[in-house]
Amino acid sequence: MALIRAGLQRLASVFNAGPAGVLSRYITNLSPIENKSVSESTKDVIAECNSLIEKNASRNFAIVHLLGKQWRVTDGDLLVLEGFWPPNIGDKIKLDKVLLAGTKDFSLIGRPVVQPGLVDVTATVISKGLSHTRTHFKKKRRKQYMRINFQRAQQTILRINSVEIASKINEAPNNVQ
């Protein structure tokens, strides 16, 4: 019996042997502090977020998908979009592909896009022009090969007018019937 006990103790020591023990790998440091049920705490969080939005507590920002790129925008930002894009100067547009929206205290993360109607990002097209002249110079040594091309890309400048979050987090989206 003594031998068994000694063996068990040895095994236990393997599992609990300080920082290098095996169990330490599986026990995480983070454990729930509150004893509230999960659903209750979620409701609290949502209510808190909604009240924060209503109070207009801080500046909003959003990550918007535009022309294959992701832009982090807040009120008053300027964006330069390159390439052909139909909207013309003075046009007011709404940017609908919102991947993420946030304030100082919380973030709404879309999967992949935040539900329509929840976040409202509006922008004005300020300028549509051409970039500076970019030089494409190619040369291969000792091969009698040299090319020089010049090109100017189309550039559209956008002013972000507003990033607004509707205070209806956790409500059913409009596009679902």
Binding site: R10, P19, N29, L30, S127, L130, S131, R134, N161
Partner: protein
């Protein structure tokens, strides 16, 4: 940034007078068409002036349009903007369609972009809303009070089990089973 365009003046995105925050104002203020009434190089320019210029002026009441005929000189368009930029463009031998397109570019852009290389394609007054990331963001606040080194926070739980550790485990197990055998022998 590549060194290709380093000889251009670098600059950042700006919009004059907070354009677009409240309302949008067309940035083209004045456009001057210089042309010759007889030479062939001004042919396209003359066509444009005859057919489209009046419509252009009607549609854009905020733009002052000047015509400047001059003998035996090539045609030129000069556009002046609200931010003080001046864009000079030769229209020699350009066709009617080409000139229409270039005038549209002059009208829609907000200044002379030719001699400025943009260093950033976005401008913001508020680079961070939630605060910049540091190594301590999203970390357990308990870290602030502990004395390090600490077994709880020093736990090696990110790496897979090393070969040495695996061997040690196997060895310990073996020893245990040996003990069992001895026990059964008893």
């Amino acid at each position: 940034m590549s060194a290709k365009n380093m000889f251009l003046k670098p600059g950042f995105v700006r919009a004059p007078l907070q354009n677009g925050v409240g309302r949008y104002v067309c940035q083209l203020q004045r456009i001057v068409f210089k042309f010759c009434k007889s030479s062939g190089g001004s042919r396209g320019m003359r066509d444009y002036i005859e057919q489209d210029l009046v419509d252009f002026a009607k549609v854009n009441p905020g733009v002052v349009v000047y015509l400047k005929p001059r003998r035996h000189r090539s045609p030129v368009v000069v556009a002046e903007y609200l931010n003080g930029d001046r864009l000079w463009m030769s229209c020699h031998n350009k066709t009617h369609e080409e000139i229409t397109k270039w005038i549209e570019v002059c009208r829609t852009q907000q200044g002379n972009n030719e001699d400025i290389r943009l260093r950033k394609y976005q401008y913001t007054d508020y680079p961070s809303v939630q605060g910049p990331w540091t190594p301590f963001t999203f970390k357990d606040p308990e870290l602030n009070n502990t004395v390090l080194p600490n077994t709880k926070f020093g736990v090696n739980n990110r790496l897979p089990i090393s070969a040495t550790e695996q061997l040690r485990l196997m060895f310990e197990k073996q020893k245990l089973y040996e003990g069992d055998e001895i026990k059964t022998a008893e």
